[in-house]
């Protein structure tokens, strides 16, 4: 078990001492390999706060988080015995807005910044930058450009490359596809999926897009007002009662298959989860 939450609650402190409970009594565990998780929920439901607990950027005010054998609780920061920095090498977190992290003169230097902080040599870091810029769908000509003259989508890709270059064991992405065009979005999701399948790494994606959830995820977590209300199979999540209960959007493919089933009075043996799978199933249906 790579990450394990034990009765974790987190309260934001505010000026008038009336704290805001962002996480309430969360229990979950995540494996080091083989998981592709999507984390969904309305804005302000605590998704990002939960993600920031997974690499110890925030420490729970109650309960414990175990991350790769290190236990983090409310006293961890005060005691200063445990170094939290190594956790961040193992669990890479990409923030939603790339503006918060890009600062070097060139894209290359910015991608190298993370690995170098964790003791990777300059040559090795440069090699990784070269590799990762291609992985996120840009080419090597970007390496010498300034990160501030890029478009929003390009900045986003560079910031993701910066975390990928750290070669974390678990990759967490906070809304990685917001602000991207549909083609770029799908390409990037394929990148994450490839990282997951080829390197057998656990990937966690925070998203508002139910299509992503339905098509890619093996497991889905739903946050609602700081509470983890659902943790499990994405297909089961989109049952009629759950959709009504949590105000979820129906994924395009699921809506289409349901309509098809109703119209033609047909039952798919296994509901298709992607366009490709749907076409394949349709072939069977037409025969």
């Amino acid at each position: 078990m790579a990450i394990k939450f034990e009765r974790v609650s987190f309260q934001y402190t505010s000026m008038d001492n009336k704290g805001y409970l962002a996480l309430a009594d969360i229990n979950l565990s995540i494996n080091k390999t083989g998981e592709f998780i999507t984390l969904i929920g309305e804005t302000g439901s605590g998704k990002s706060t939960l993600a920031q607990h997974m690499n110890a950027l925030l420490q729970p005010t109650e309960g414990r988080v175990h991350i790769f054998g290190i236990t983090v609780d409310d006293k961890t920061k005060k005691q200063r015995k445990i170094k939290l920095n190594p956790i961040r090498k193992q669990v890479g977190l990409v923030f939603q807005f790339p503006e918060y992290q890009l600062f070097e003169e060139t894209v290359e230097k910015d991608i190298m910044f993370g690995p170098k902080n964790f003791g990777v040599s300059t040559e090795e870091a440069a090699k990784r930058a070269e590799k990762m810029i291609e992985v996120v769908g840009l080419d090597a000509s970007y390496l010498k450009r300034s990160p501030f003259n890029l478009s929003g989508g390009e900045k986003k890709r560079v910031s993701i490359a910066g975390i990928l270059a750290m070669e974390p064991d678990i990759l967490i992405l906070d809304e990685p596809t917001s602000g991207l065009d549909p083609i770029g979005r799908n390409a990037l999701l394929d990148v994450f999926y490839n990282i997951h399948t080829e390197l057998d790494k656990t990937v966690i994606i925070i998203t508002h897009d139910m299509n992503t959830v339905y098509e890619y995820a093996k497991r889905v977590m739903v946050m609602r007002e700081g509470v983890l209300v659902y943790d499990g199979d994405p297909v089961a999540l989109f049952s009629k009662s759950n959709i009504d209960r949590w105000n979820l959007d129906v994924p395009d493919i699921l809506g289409l298959t349901r309509d098809l089933e109703a119209k033609f009075d047909y039952k798919f043996t296994e509901p298709p989860r992607s366009r490709k799978a749907l076409f394949k199933a349709l072939e069977g249906m037409l025969k």
């Binding site: 402190t13 170094k83 923030f95 503006e99 992290q101 600062f103 910044f113």
Partner: protein, 321 residues
């Protein structure tokens, strides 16, 4: 960063809160001039007693004021010791010869180092610091150690002690007064008051309204920028920047990694804000109506009159006594 008390508004209800901001600003100015006019330590003690009375009447907790003073503790201690050591007028109060020998200096240094490494475990740091100073002084004044190569003299004079106390009290009063103003006045009200007080400057072709707008926008963006800084720190921390530990050389890179995004975000924000203001037809210098209009009450006149009275008393006490 969240514990800064200076300049922060704390909601409450007392007569200080219901005063017009113009009154409070003017009264602050008048009282500050009064504090600078006073030249006798006893009068300063009276002044601080009056401030205490106002704090009590205004239902402001002394603890909050103390928290506001805490960042200035260093300055207070510095001026105090400076006066005590270098001001050599008046009657001699206390004298001690200091013997510098290798052993005593080594021992004093050892105490200093011990203090440096243990201070984080002690709750009353200031007291601990003073005790350490006392211990060092005692060690240096002992004649036990051989090999004395120099002697020094530590003396406290009446004037030095009085001046030290005097300046300290003056600083405390000034900071308390300004903390009282900012604590009981919303930044927007403060700004409005300032704008109206500075309005006569139009004769000098200084546009008070613009200045007030600049101040209010800056004040408005302090919490926002703090929030942004926090987010940047988290984003960089997840790339392995350790803001709490790290060597000096790393610290420079850390600060750069915080400042560059900070600047970029601020520029972008100010650009957005300018556009948003223009989209709502804001034109500098044009007359505008106000959402909140300040009203002058009888209480305001009373407070202002009292402040004047105190200033006159201070001037009289200086001239006559």
């Amino acid at each position: 960063m969240k514990n800064i008390v200076i300049g922060r508004y704390i909601p409450g209800n007392s007569f200080l809160y219901s005063l017009d901001p113009r009154t409070k600003i003017l009264a602050l100015l008048i009282l500050m001039i009064g504090v600078f006019v006073i030249d006798h330590i006893m009068h300063m003690v009276y002044a601080i007693a009056i401030i205490f009375l106002v704090l009590l009447l205004g239902k402001i907790s002394i603890k909050r004021i103390y928290l506001g003073l805490r960042p200035l503790l260093f300055l207070l201690i510095f001026t105090f010791t400076f006066q005590i050591i270098f001001n050599r007028h008046g009657e001699l109060l206390f004298e001690e010869t200091l013997y510098y020998s290798p052993v005593s200096i080594a021992l004093a240094a050892a105490i200093g180092i011990f203090w440096f490494f243990t201070k984080r475990f002690i709750k009353f740091r200031l007291l601990y610091f003073l005790m350490t100073l006392l211990a060092i002084g005692t060690v240096l004044s002992l004649t036990l150690f051989p090999g004395t190569f120099a002697t020094g003299r530590f003396a406290v004079y009446e004037e030095g002690l009085f001046m030290a106390l005097f300046i300290m009290l003056r600083l405390i009063i000034i900071v308390t007064l300004s903390t009282m103003l900012t604590m009981t006045t919303k930044p927007t009200d403060l700004n409005l008051g300032l704008e109206q007080i500075l309005a006569p400057l139009k004769i000098l072709r200084i546009n008070a309204e613009e200045i007030a707008m600049i101040i209010s926008i800056s004040l408005r963006y302090i919490p926002t920028l703090l929030d942004e800084a926090n987010k940047i720190m988290l984003a960089q921390a997840s790339r392995g920047v350790d803001f709490e530990e790290g060597k000096m050389k790393e610290k420079v890179v850390q600060i750069v990694s915080l400042l560059v995004p900070m600047f970029i975000i601020s520029f972008k924000r100010s650009d957005d804000l300018a556009n948003a203001m223009e989209a709502r037809s804001f034109a500098p210098g044009r007359p505008r109506t106000r959402l909140h209009v300040l009203t002058w009450k009888r209480l305001d006149s009373c407070v202002l009159a009292l402040s004047f009275l105190l200033l006159v008393t201070a001037i009289l006490s200086r001239v006559l006594l």
